[in-house]
Amino acid sequence: MAGIESAQKERSMAGRLFGFARRRKKRAPTDVRRRIGESWYTPYLFILPHLIIFILFIGVPFFLGIWISLHDSTALREGPFVGFRNFENLLSPDSVHSARFWTTVWNTFIFVFLSTPLLVGVGLFLATLLNQRFRGRNFFRGIYFAPWTLSVAVVGITWWYMFNGNGGVVTRFLQDTLGTSPGWLTQNPWAWIAILVATLWWTIGFNTIILLAGMQGISADLYEAASIDGANRWQQFRHITIPSLKAVLLLVVTLQIIASFQLVGQPQLMTGGGPPPTETTPVLLHVFNTGFGGRRELSLAAAMALIVALMMVIVSIINFRLFSSERS
């Protein structure tokens, strides 16, 4: 179970950072092993090339983002220092910026709440289906996973065409068979359904293979014993598969929540964030439009991004806590 184990290791390592897992004993500082004749700077020569780029493009931007959010700049001009005014504007209910921002945050939450059960549930179903012995199982697994290798741009363009009201495949098919079709990309709830379908198509393969790997790690003896005791297939699924998959399921749910939080390409390319004004605009698209479209309000976009990032980090930490309590 290399994959799942390494993921758990990663999580416990992150857990350690937040101080809720056991601490490793500190090694005495004198016990730094170095080969005879090796210079003190040898390790730095190894880490430096990556570290320089890391500092430049993760370290500096981390603080630069905060710095920009405390100013009133656009892409065209450097603005004055304004303290926390951008944040106050986004957090106070009576400002123009906050209403739209929180609508889009709410849209993202809706998507997370709809997509997570859907993608984990369907992933479980497909994994169960593929966890049987039949001819051509690698073939089907390969097909189900294929869209995952595509860019979100290809996925968005594909489903924009499929659902398009002007000669799109799905629309035309429904018009031919039922005589009518909803405006998939221009009316809710259809627009959200179209985005969910595109997302399912794109990423369900990932959840499926992670869950499948977990299922194949469950001992066959458990099923044998249950079968002898007369458990039917559903009972086996409910009382053997699900409990044995608990850790893997938590991992999949965590990754799914974080991925769903990052929704941006599908609505940008399929619905343009509409129906107007922002019915399917997730918060990331709003950040994108604020910072890089229209008036290019970089500072406001930076402040929004920080609020969203904070929410996501909190979600991750909650998940890590669940993980570490699950394991102990």
Partner: protein, 293 residues
Amino acid sequence: MATVLDRGLERDQPLELKAVGRRRRGFQRPLLYLLLIGIALFFILPMIFVFSTSFKSDTEVFTDPGLIPADPGLENYQMLLGGGTPFYRWFLNSAIVSSVGTVLTVVLTSLSAYAFARIDFPLKNALFSVLITTLLLPSVMFLVPHFKLIGQMGLYDTLPALVLPGLAGVFGVFFMRQFFLAIPVELEEAAYVDGANRFRTFVSVVLPLAGPALATLSVITFLAFWNDYLWPAVICVDNCTLPAGLRLLQGQFTANYGLTMAGAVVAAVPVLIIYLALQRWIIQSVASSGVKG
């Protein structure tokens, strides 16, 4: 890298119990295949529609709804590649950015990972903790500062702008370190006794052993660079990659589905070819590294 996926696929199905005299099966066989094929169609049909539409002219798209074009033609591809759009440049940019980005990522992160796995130095653990913690930071918070930084470096709308931010990621360091830790240290000590220095040991002993991990990291990194959409869409105007270019194509030729679909086909085909060739292995890599796209 051996995964449970491997074992599971070769293992006999546990659910059949001849001793009980009843063949346990989840679904009746024909029903199972019907279901499997139905689901497969959901995944394949959109791709086939896109592929088919890319061979239809802008009027045929509306007059000829068939899955197989009545009068297939290459006019969309000719227009894309023949100078009607900057498409050729996008394709070239994608190829350059993805290959250079992949090579640099693999070199930089495996060098760093080796030091973190094998050499002791002051503040090593603290530094590694800082690196790993940044895995938690969502990429959205870097969009604006990267945009600003790249602008200040004078790299706006250039190829380095598309490569550099991606090189800073720490996943490769974490991933390669795990692998290096699993290599028996005795092998390196043997090389050391023979007079090789650190770098020599790394290049001629450790790297050859790390082949599978390097290959996995390369494929994952290549896909990430090739498919990246949001950052190129932010930073590029003329020097776009294919995903960002597709968005421009869609905006410019709204009703010319054939042309846009031809663009999607060209963006999809290279990764699908890689996937077809390495399918089983890619699936294992993804399952074992747990990378979410």
